[in-house]
């Protein structure tokens, strides 16, 4: 521990890793989820182009995890002083805490976005067959997102709890 602490600004390194994991993992999951839903959407739109609006809404739903990840990454970056003037400084403990705080939103965001994409894809199939039931397809898809929202909340509370400066 002594050795690690001797490295200058090692806390900042961990904080940066946390921000990168939050935005990177959640964003990667969202990209996969949106892609899964989008592939299903192409099929429906080729048959019925007028359903584009509804399909687009369903395709966008797994995209929110990426935004949640970005949000936590940004808060961590601001907290660790990575963006502002004056240079970054956090201690080793603070940096590690920020890294751990990023895990819920990064990991849950990654997994939930992929699975939400699968539900969205089947929802798009439902819209293709019965356009009037689009609302139910959206609701089913949003059920998955609940856990991404909870992870976002915990990540935020944890980041908020780290006292810096």
């Amino acid at each position: 521990m002594e050795g690690i602490q001797a490295i200058p600004n090692i806390g900042v390194v961990f904080a940066t890793l946390g921000a990168a994991l939050a935005a990177g993992l959640a964003g990667a999951g969202s990209a996969m989820g949106v892609s899964i839903a989008g592939q299903a959407g192409g099929g429906v739109i080729s048959e019925e182009p007028e359903k584009f609006g509804m399909v687009l809404v369903l395709q966008l739903l797994p995209g929110t995890q990426g935004i949640y990840g970005l949000l936590i990454a940004f808060i961590i970056a601001v907290k660790a002083g990575l963006l502002g003037a004056g240079g970054p400084f956090v201690t080793l403990e603070q940096g590690l805490s920020l890294l751990y705080a990023a895990i819920p939103v990064g990991f849950t965001g990654f997994i939930s976005a992929i699975y939400q994409g699968k539900v969205a894809a089947s929802g798009i199939g439902l819209v293709g067959k019965r356009g009037e039931e689009a609302g139910k397809a959206i609701i089913l898809t949003v059920m998955v997102e609940t856990y991404a929202v909870l992870a976002l909340l915990i990540s935020f509370l944890l980041v908020n709890g780290v006292q810096v400066g």
Binding site: V57, L60, L61, G63, T64, I67, Y68, L70, L71, F74, I75, L83, G135, K136, I138, I139, V142, M143, E145, T146, V149, L150, L152, L153, F156, L157, N160
Partner: protein, 620 residues
């Protein structure tokens, strides 16, 4: 039938003995199909219809344009067929020209290339490279063409024919058969080319008349709606049981529209018999709900879940205030609320949508108002801190608290409102069960839970709020315990076996975890409120950084300002879109799962009266 369709008040029930159809319905259905296909066809030839409200028509006016439009659609379809055949002719001739083109240099007339007794002709195509390998001693060979595959004409003795052909087949030779034409190949190519020009000009003519037809597309669309209305009416007639001079019409109607229906029929004829009755037990009537103007849009949200069952109650009026509040708290940015409110208001005013779109637009419009208000209490203004906007010292605004800096109070507020929301659902169920005289269900399944949850809340309050007397906490615990005992003993009251009853009671008591997780679910209000504000401020910050990097010269400032304005508009528009979508669905979910789960009887069927269901117009 006309009068009833205009009224849109009766949903028909199919009579048991279906009338044999006389072909009218099929004819009308055909009209609909024809118009539909010609509209699809002509849409390729006209620019997209302008955005705007649907035009309004009288039903008679609409039906008036039907005959001419049917002719129009017929001629459009005929033109389309002509166009297709013209294009096929062109393709045929192009293919012919291509196959003839290697022979352009041949001067003989095609019809004269007939074998005689002594001389046979071989024609075909051969690779340039194989040309030198030929060693025909006793034949005249002519070679034509520019490409690497040469066209060649070989004249030889009849007895050599077979041998030569065999030798050629060993090479890259492919035999050619002249089409049955008259004249030299070149003459034929010239003739075909001029024919193509002719067909092309007639093709242009057809396209221009199709364009003319396309300018009548609006009329076709109206006629399509007229055809649908006529078809629906005829389809309804086919469901009646009738004799040659009379018919029986059976259907559902709203109890409050009885007089309207009665007077509509008496205005047409005085020879009729009108009878009404309540639904029988084994019948399943459709569900209709009635709400005032402010609550009506929220029926759309309920319909997305399910219609209420005919014996249940409509949850919309109870859900509306909660939806209004939670939507505002989730979006929680006064600037965004303002944009949403004005946007939806303009959309409603200029586009005059109907049906589900109208309902959602109105819900979002009201949600915008709620957002504007909530923004002052717990939110931001386009992501900016209120104190920066007003120039007040930190901590003055927002009125209640800033969720960014004080997350725990905001979380408690969400949980508190959530508990209130859920317990309201329980209360509604108590009222509902009392009304249907199911006192046991009211007391043991619902009131007991009120006691448990509220009791536990009071019991836990001293740790949160100072100055709560310990006696009150004890009373809360006692109430919760009493409620728990009620559930434990009576939840399985329909079971005779005492052991089974206890087990089922204990299982029910475990539902307390459901209350806990449902309460935690309201954390999404906080999370979404947070994400709106933070994303908006992140965008402001990023754009600010870009602006700062553009330097301080006058030109730099001007360019920077333009770029920043464009970027901010785009980014905030994106953020509004994604956040409004999220708020709408998450808010709806809180109603469906946490609120409706406590009292709502789903499974109703929509009331679809005989009426006008046009696609392109509105019928007055």
């Amino acid at each position: 039938m006309h009068a009833l369709q205009r009224l849109a008040a009766i949903e028909l029930i199919s009579s048991a003995e279906a009338r044999p159809t006389d072909g009218t319905l099929e004819k009308l259905e055909e009209n609909v199909q024809h118009l539909h296909s010609s509209i699809a066809l002509l849409s390729c030839y006209s620019e997209k219809p302008r955005m705007g409200p649907k035009p309004e028509f009288e039903e008679g006016e609409l039906a008036g344009c039907l005959p001419t439009s049917l002719e129009l659609s017929e001629s459009a379809e005929r033109l389309e067929r002509e166009l297709a055949s013209a294009r096929a002719e062109i393709d045929k001739r192009c293919a012919l020209i291509e196959s003839l083109s290697p022979w352009e240099g041949l001067n003989s007339r095609i019809e004269q290339l007939q074998p005689t007794n002594n001389v046979r002709f071989i024609y075909g195509l051969l690779e340039q490279a194989d040309l030198d390998k030929l060693s025909f001693s006793d034949a005249a060979i002519e070679v034509f063409g520019e490409t690497h595959r040469k066209a060649m004409l070989i004249a030889c003795h009849a007895e050599d024919y077979e041998a030569y052909l065999r030798e050629l087949k060993g090479l890259s030779f492919s035999e050619y058969e002249f089409p049955k034409l008259i004249g030299t190949p070149l003459e034929n190519i010239k003739r075909l080319e001029s024919e193509i020009t002719d067909i092309k000009s007639s093709e242009k003519r057809i396209i221009s008349s199709l364009n003319d037809c396309a300018s009548e597309l609006t009329q076709l669309r109206h006629a399509f709606d007229a055809a649908i209305i006529a078809r629906d009416r005829e389809a309804a007639k086919a469901r009646l049981s009738a004799t040659s001079t009379s018919f029986i019409l059976e259907g559902w109607m709203r109890s409050d529209e009885k007089d309207k229906v009665f007077s509509a029929i008496s205005a047409i004829t005085d020879v009729f018999y009108f009878e009404e009755r309540d639904p029988l037990d084994d019948e399943e009537p459709p569900s209709v709900v009635k709400n005032n103007k402010l609550i009506k849009p929220f029926e759309t949200v309920t319909n997305l879940y399910s219609r209420p069952s005919p014996s249940g109650i409509d949850g919309t009026p109870y859900m509306t205030p909660f939806y209004f509040l939670f939507f505002g708290m989730m979006l929680s940015d006064t600037g965004y609320g303002l944009v949403l409110f004005l946007g939806c208001l303009l959309f409603l005013k200029f586009m005059k949508p109907s049906g589900m779109t109208e309902g959602i637009a109105k819900v979002l419009c009201l949600g915008g108002i709620s957002t504007i208000i909530c923004g002052f209490f717990i939110g931001t203004f386009f992501g900016m801190d209120w104190n920066d906007v007003f120039g007040t010292p930190a901590g003055t605004w927002p009125i209640l608290f800033d969720p960014m800096n004080q997350p725990m109070p905001m979380l408690y507020l969400c949980f508190g409102l959530g508990l209130f929301h859920m317990l309201s659902g329980v209360c509604i169920n108590i009222w509902r069960t009392l009304k249907s005289r199911d006192y046991a269900a009211a007391l043991f399944d619902n009131f007991s839970w009120l006691m448990i949850v509220l009791g536990l809340l009071v019991f836990g309050s001293p740790s949160l709020i100072e100055g709560v007397p310990p006696a009150l906490a004890k009373a809360g615990l006692a109430a919760a315990a009493l409620g728990g005992v009620l559930v434990l003993v009576f939840a399985g009251r329909d079971k005779k076996n005492i052991l089974k009853r206890a087990i089922s009671g204990a299982g029910k008591l475990y539902d307390i975890s459901g209350y806990l997780s449902d309460m935690l679910s309201y954390a999404r209000v906080f999370a979404l409120a947070l994400s709106t504000g933070v994303i908006a401020s992140v965008m402001n910050m990023l754009v600010g950084m870009i602006g700062a990097s553009l330097g301080g010269t006058v030109i730099g400032k001007i360019i920077g300002f333009i770029i920043m304005a464009a970027l901010l508009t785009f980014l905030h528009a994106f953020s509004i879109g994604i956040n409004v979508l999220g708020c709408f669905v998450h808010c709806a979910r809180l109603q469906y799962v946490e609120f409706y789960g406590r009292f709502y009887d789903a499974g109703g069927r929509q009331f679809i009266p005989l009426g006008y269901y046009p696609r392109f117009v509105k019928v007055k």
